[in-house]
């Protein structure tokens, strides 16, 4: 049966709906993993919470915005020093965490007063920042604090600040995904259209769903600059609050991460007629395709072709060097969701590698439709994989390398398998042409590392 019940799941048989092994002749009209549904308590799932999806993934990336977390101290603490998204604003977004530091008395009597004080203090201590996101958390959502009321008062009092609220308590939805959704929809409904930038080019674009991990967005921006295209906003890599308010000014939205930001791309079409063009910004060949499509859209085909030719001439030889040595190597991808379908075919086409197992923390069925369409037969596709499943699948597919987070990477290290940080990269950026080479280099160094061979030797044996 293609929907598979692993041995470690025999006592939680509902997991069968979530694990699929692709076989010849099967379609996703017959078999599609259940996704984006309740997590099984106690399963050691990899999922995070809705607040994480809103603040850590999307909102916190903005380079000029105070990120006020309305709740007890842990939520702010845990989303600080846990990401690698730089900016050209002296990395303001990496250095600070703000919290209203809710205490027991606030839970009992309400936290709005404390929130207001915290907001005023933040604007006072950081006078160059006039923009703020405020996030609810489990506690403040449960007691029903009225953020909008506080915001109204503050905006009236200070006059020159703009504040956006996100209702994303950790228990909302089933994973990070709910936080993405809420932030996207609220932002487009409340803030897009309230600010306009100077237009400096006939070609204007939004780049949606990349978060400047290790400089990804800055690299893509440099491509756009070379083609004379004005990036109205990245949503939200290396972006400012106001840039994201002016997204309605673009002629096209290219969307990379359709999971976390497909919502705003859809709404920008529905409300402003801006078409959504889905692209893969990882993968050497995919990048070529994306750039040519963008060129065709704007009618600057020749320019785009010249740019692509230049990049290929400069970088393909390096990529091919790695391809020779990575061909046939087996990879597992255990990340949030979209990187599964972004990378599975790219690694195959660019480098001859085989992606043999994939697990998604918070992908929806749409993500599985994509990854199963693109992925290999015989590969294992898992929704909301848990730790025991990881061990069993490793035994099944014997990967040479795993793309996953640092903690799971530290786990598989004990099985003498190298990992690469699939979320924050090892040595990125990984997007773009240069990024594809960076990723190949990291994979090569990981797979050919002597360490993982030496660790398999028992020196007591002859």
């Amino acid at each position: 049966m293609p929907m598979t019940l692993l041995e470690c799941d025999e006592t939680i048989p509902e997991r069968k709906r979530h694990i699929y092994i692709k076989a010849e002749g099967e379609e996703t009209t017959e078999f599609l993993p259940a996704s984006n549904i309740n997590t099984i308590p106690g399963s050691l799932s990899e999922r995070g919470c809705s607040y994480c999806g809103a603040k850590l993934v999307i909102g916190g990336v903005l380079k000029d915005t105070i990120q006020m977390v309305h709740g007890p101290i842990g939520c702010a603490y845990n989303t600080w020093h846990t990401k690698r998204y730089p900016s050209d604003n002296d990395n303001f977004q990496l250095k600070y965490a703000w919290s209203s530091d809710m205490k027991e008395s606030n839970v009992v009597f309400g936290g709005e007063g404390k929130l207001k004080k915290s907001i005023m203090e933040a604007f006072r201590e950081f006078p160059e920042s006039k923009r703020m996101f405020i996030y609810t958390t489990c506690a403040t959502a449960l007691i029903g604090d009225d953020l909008k009321g506080v915001v109204k008062t503050v905006e009236a009092e200070l006059g020159d600040v703009d504040i956006f609220c996100v209702e994303c308590p950790g228990f909302a939805g089933v994973s990070q995904s709910k936080g993405h959704h809420v932030l996207n929809i609220e932002w487009v409904n409340q803030k897009v259209g309230t600010y306009e930038q100077e237009i400096t080019s006939p070609y204007t674009i939004n780049i949606i769903g990349d978060y400047n991990i290790q400089g990804d967005s800055q690299l893509l921006s440099s491509y756009m600059e070379e083609l004379g295209i004005q990036v109205i906003a990245h949503f939200t890599g290396n972006a400012t609050y106001d840039e994201c308010r002016s997204m309605h000014q673009a002629k096209l939205s290219v969307t990379n991460c359709a999971r976390s930001a497909g919502y705003i791309a859809n709404e920008l079409y529905r409300q402003y007629g801006i078409p959504r063009m889905d692209v893969d910004t990882w993968g050497f060949d995919y990048c070529k395709e994306s750039m040519l499509k963008i060129g065709a859209f704007f009618g600057i085909d020749a320019k785009a072709q010249a740019f692509v030719d230049k990049k290929i001439a400069e970088l393909k030889p390096q990529l091919d060097w790695y391809k020779k040595r990575l061909k046939g190597k087996k990879v597992a991808i255990w990340t949030g969701g979209p990187r599964l379908w972004h990378w599975t075919k790219a690694l195959e086409d660019d480098l001859g590698m085989e992606v043999v197992a994939m697990s998604s923390k918070f992908g929806h069925q749409e993500d599985f439709e994509k990854v199963i369409a693109r992925g290999r037969k015989g590969a294992v596709y898992i929704d909301d994989g848990n730790e025991l499943e990881f061990f069993e699948v490793i035994d099944m597919v014997k990967p040479d390398l795993i793309f996953t987070g640092p903690r799971v990477g530290d786990l598989v290290k004990k099985l003498n398998i190298p990992y690469i940080n699939g979320h924050g990269y090892h040595n990125g950026p990984y997007m773009g042409f240069e990024g594809a080479v960076n990723m190949a280099r990291d994979m090569y160094n990981a797979i050919y590392s002597h360490t993982y061979k030496l660790s398999q030797i028992d020196i007591r044996e002859a």
Partner: protein
């Protein structure tokens, strides 16, 4: 010289020093053998903390979430906790403990965790009658205290739940507090040299774990149910960190007449002297010459550095409260001036702590500022407005940008220390710890001298 003890003068928190209570409880329970804690709340409460541990140790630790979703927020989440325990029991046949760690959401909802325990016990009696698996709640709402209190509450709860009267065992209990495996190793060395039989609670020495050819080298805790049971029958308890384990020691004193010592922090030469003398007094064992020698080596190292390089250096210290006090003592011992101490939560006990009040006398020729309920903006803002000049920062890695941006040497201590390699393998307690600290501090200062070309030639002939 004046010691000013005061509270942070802002309501909100900017750059928190501590995580919230559930984090502390999780750190306690991962040190237990055959135990998987169930964090009863949103998924973030568990996943974020597991990440923090991985950042610090570069290891994975098993913790489960009860995966609170929206329906639970309305109808109560007890069945999630129950299900979580049952799933863990079924899938992990070897575990003997499932502490249920509450969070702000489940404390606010008011789940009756004792009822959950009864339900799970009934389930186990019916389905796994031969298993010795204990389930009990640990109450750690995030809107009170911090990770410090969470750890302390967890240790106290473990002792309350498991300590069992039996035959006197002639051991001393050592409640370690939130220390590193390097500290546990040093503690064990000292006790072994003194031929003292000790019950280390919690023994985290195996958090520093190897890659092994048989793939079994996973990081793990070593303290068993029996170890905690035995704590009732010891001849004495010493809590190295009063605020993280002291209450458990006092509980054993009250209930089982096990005398408790909770005010000695073995950080620095003099404090370690006190500790060793106390152990000797409690157990009747002699202090061996090996410790005299070890002490001498540390003093020798410090003598090489003290009045030449360390004297008059102004230091800021933040982190766990006992760690901060111990480090401040050590600094004074070396001739340094701990001019700013930051206690990161609002425990009222700090203001009455005789060890802190003692600075009035100990801080002979400098002013000291002690801030309670502090955050790292308290440190940064003083540097920003230049009201504070510093030569050294002692603290955890989340303060790294202060060191980077203001050009102040920083030695990583406490938790988490993710931006330097191997910190957790070294002790800060004991004579070895004093030696390590002195040399780390010196080397940081030396590197800074060279980087700034500030009389770096002094080191030519040292």
């Amino acid at each position: 010289m004046p010691v000013e003890i005061k509270d942070k003068d802002r309501a909100g928190n900017v750059n928190p020093i501590f995580n919230c209570q559930p984090c502390g409880a999780q750190y306690a329970v991962i040190g237990l053998k055959d135990c998987i804690g169930l964090v009863h709340g949103g998924q973030g409460c568990c996943t974020f903390v597991r990440l923090m541990f991985a950042q610090h140790f570069k290891e994975n630790f098993d913790l489960a979430s009860s995966s609170l979703h929206e329906d639970a927020a309305v109808f109560g989440a007890m069945n999630k906790a129950r299900e979580g325990c049952e799933v863990l029991a079924r899938r992990y046949p070897d575990i003997r403990l499932i502490p249920m760690i509450t969070t702000c959401s489940t404390e606010t909802i008011g789940d009756d965790m004792d009822s959950v325990k009864v339900q799970v016990d009934e389930y186990l009696a019916e389905n796994f009658p031969d298993r010795d698996l204990r389930v009990f709640p640990i109450h750690t709402p995030s809107y009170a205290g911090s990770q410090v209190k969470g750890y302390d509450t967890a240790i106290l709860t473990l002792v309350q739940q498991l300590a069992k009267r039996g035959e006197a065992n002639g051991k001393i209990n050592v409640f370690t507090g939130w220390i590193n495996p390097g500290d546990v190793q040093e503690l064990k060395y000292i006790l072994a040299e003194m031929k003292v039989d000790a019950n280390i609670l919690i023994d985290t020495i195996s958090f520093d774990s190897p890659m092994l050819p048989d793939k079994s080298g996973f990081a793990r805790g070593n303290t068993t149910v029996e170890d905690i049971e035995e704590s009732a029958n010891a001849l004495g308890s010493i809590a190295l960190y009063k605020y993280e384990g002291g209450n458990a020691a006092k509980y054993l004193e009250r209930l089982y007449k096990v005398p408790a010592e909770t005010d000695i922090i073995p950080i620095g030469i003099e404090n370690t002297d006190k500790f060793i003398k106390k152990v000797s007094q409690m157990t009747g064992k002699e202090i061996p010459y090996s410790l005299v020698e070890q002490r001498g080596k540390a003093l020798d190292a410090i003598a090489d550095l003290g009045h030449m390089f360390l004297a008059d250096k102004k230091v800021a210290i933040y982190g766990d409260p006992d760690l901060v006090i111990g480090l401040a003592d050590f600094c004074i011992e070396c001739g340094m001036q701990p001019v700013l101490l930051l206690f990161g939560d609002d425990l009222k006990a700090y203001k009455k702590d005789p060890r802190i009040l003692a600075y009035e006398e100990k801080a002979a020729n400098f002013d000291m500022e002690v801030i309670c309920n502090a955050d790292l903006w308290d440190l940064e803002s003083r540097l920003k407005d230049e009201s504070l000049k510093l030569d050294l920062i002692l603290g955890h890695s989340k303060g790294r940008y202060i060191s980077i941006d203001y050009g102040i040497p920083m030695v990583r201590v406490g938790f988490p220390t993710f931006d330097r390699a191997g910190v957790y393998k070294h002790p800060v307690i004991g004579y070895k710890g004093a030696e390590y600290l002195a040399e780390e501090i010196a080397n940081a200062i030396f590197t800074d001298m060279e980087y700034k070309k500030d009389k770096e030639w002094k080191l030519n002939v040292w």
